[in-house]
């Protein structure tokens, strides 16, 4: 192994865990489901995996149990989420995250209480995490392609229009919510198998802001945005190491600038730049044959 890899193994593994969590946020946000429940499922995955493996369950069986638990809880919570929109949905999912944190804190010996659980065998190395990320990307990519991708885009940008062309709104929202639940739980499993410990603090509310920052910063339109966001959030503090005491301030300032000047995320900024470049190279077709669209035709963006 190279010296660089050995020196940055924690950051590399953190990036892979963040990538899974960021994809979990991105997959729901892209479909217009303003869910922040990924962190709750992250905690569910980490705790379930820890409890089972510490009691001697086979690692693969424990992983399978995590997936099943995430799908079942995802379906149950998803049924309620399907009735909500916008800020109400966000508040509901934050409450879900907080409830799971309270359960973990007061779970006694089962969850380790406020201290949490530790001593979980490090079963997933960097390679295993990378494989998980690749599988997650394939799953999310397939949801973004062809008719599925268009239907989720329609759900996010104009739900009434989506209904008018026959898109089954409820079923699709449920699918992305459960996918997000499984990805969040996988991020939790990756975290505990890398760092061997989990506590209510590490799966608490601050992780919601981290996950949301990654997804929004990278761009929620495509899976690449989630990965870009994960890399930025994981590596920015390291890159800014020389700033010393002002590191957190500069870190925050850079994120603010990116959000203000790249509302579609870094990926959206890159795509717009590429399109502008391409338009300059190509001659414009004929002039518009009628008046420009009035203001009310500008579509709403999330």
């Amino acid at each position: 192994m190279s010296v660089w890899y050995e020196g940055n193994i924690v950051l590399i593994q953190t990036t892979l865990i963040y990538a899974l969590l960021s994809l979990s946020f991105q997959v729901v946000l892209r479909a217009g489901v303003f869910s922040l429940a990924s962190v709750g499922f992250y905690g569910l995955g980490a705790y379930t995996f820890a409890m089972l493996t510490l009691h001697g369950t086979n690692v693969w069986l424990a992983f399978l149990a995590v997936i099943v638990a995430a799908v079942v809880l995802g379906l149950l919570v998803g049924m309620l989420v399907n009735r909500l929109r916008g800020l109400y949905l966000a508040l509901f999912t934050v409450a879900f995250d907080l409830i799971l944190t309270v359960v973990a804190t007061n779970g006694g010996d089962l969850t380790g209480g406020p201290v949490g659980l530790f001593g979980v065998p490090p079963v997933l190395g960097t390679g295993g995490m990378a494989v998980l990320v690749v599988i997650a990307v394939l799953v999310v990519w397939q949801l973004e392609r062809h008719s599925l991708g268009r239907s989720f885009e329609a759900l996010r940008l104009n739900e009434d229009m989506a209904r008018s062309v026959g898109v089954e709104v409820g079923r699709r929202r449920m699918v992305v919510f459960c996918t997000s639940a499984v990805l969040g739980a996988c991020a939790g499993v990756a975290n505990i198998s890398a760092f061997t410990t989990i506590s209510p603090q590490t799966a608490g509310f601050p992780l919601v802001t981290t996950g949301l920052t990654m997804a929004v910063l990278g761009g929620i339109g495509r899976w690449q945005g989630a990965l870009i966001g994960a890399v930025i959030v994981a590596w920015l503090p390291e890159v800014l190491g020389d700033v010393g005491d002002y590191q957190a301030v500069v870190n925050g300032a850079i994120i603010i600038v990116l959000v203000v000047f790249a509302p579609d995320g870094v990926l959206g900024l890159a795509i717009r730049g590429w399109r502008r470049l391409r338009r300059r190279r190509e001659p414009e077709p004929g002039p518009p044959t009628s008046a420009p669209a009035p203001d009310q035709t500008v579509q709403e963006r999330v």
Binding site: S147, E153, L157, R163, S164, V165, V167, T289, S290, A291
Partner: protein
């Protein structure tokens, strides 16, 4: 001629406001129906009720023989109802081609998620069919050259064409057009009129809501006039526009506005 759509006592009330009030009508296959009326007369709300995007307060809707009064808009769309909107609704992040593909998606792929998700080859094959349908719809509306443009790069008239192309890509049994020529130049309006006429020739039932009475009179086989949520006149278009109640609904309002008598 078979009846495609039958409304029986359809009402849409928003609190005390009766946007649509006990409207009953029957539409037969292959005809173009015009709906006119002053601003606020309930034309767009009626289209919303028919397409189930606006819940009706009372009454029943039968479409192609099925009672669809409680259906979701998506189920109704899959049963053959397509529509355009008073305010153009295109997805700003998708190209013209992709916006039109959206109309054909459910028709070709269905509503399931698993097959397109886990069978990439199956999905890619259907995508080719969807593309062919979208290409034909673009050709029909004369917007093939704009296929890679984003909606904000189009003129308002072309945005409306894209929306109509998306609707016909669904191969509907009935098409609702809400102010399809609004904001268009004379030539563009003529182009839309030709499209509506050619779709009628193919047997597609259409309902056209517009403020341009002259255009509707020339285009429609049957005209409904709405005022304050009610159908105040209907029949052969030239006869309907001569109806004193219609004159009152339009000219009376204009006259009162001119004289400041509200």
């Amino acid at each position: 001629m078979s009846e495609v759509l039958a409304l029986d006592g359809i009402s849409v009330h928003f609190g005390a406001v009766r946007a649509v009030d006990e409207v009953s009508l029957g539409l037969t296959a292959g005809k173009v129906y015009g709906v006119v009326g002053p601003n606020g007369s309930g034309k767009s709300t009626l289209l919303g009720a028919v397409s189930r995007l606006t819940p009706s307060t009372a009454g029943t809707i039968r479409f192609r023989g099925s009672d669809c009064t409680r259906w979701t808009p998506q189920r109704l769309a899959r049963h053959g109802l397509a529509r355009t909107f008073q305010t153009v609704r295109l997805l700003p992040t998708l190209s013209v081609l992709d916006n039109i593909r959206l109309g054909a998606d459910v028709r070709v792929v269905g509503t399931g998620v698993w097959k397109p998700w886990v069978l990439p080859v199956w999905s890619a094959r259907r995508e080719r069919t969807i593309r062919e349908i979208a290409e034909r719809a673009m050709e029909r509306l004369g917007i093939t050259a704009l296929r890679d443009r984003l909606p904000h790069q189009l003129s308002y008239g072309n945005q409306r064409r894209v929306e109509i192309a998306r609707a016909i890509a669904a191969d509907p049994a009935m098409l609702l057009l809400d102010e399809p020529t609004a904001g268009m130049t004379g030539d563009e309006r003529d182009g839309i009129v030709q499209v509506v006429a050619s779709l009628r020739a193919e047997g597609l039932t259409q309902v056209v809501v517009d403020h341009d009475v002259d255009m509707i009179v020339n285009l429609a086989d049957h005209l409904f006039v709405l005022s304050e949520g009610r159908v105040i006149a209907q029949g052969h278009p030239p006869d309907v526009v001569g109806d004193p109640r219609v004159q009152e609904a339009y000219l009376g309002r204009r006259h009162r506005a001119d004289t400041g008598d509200r």
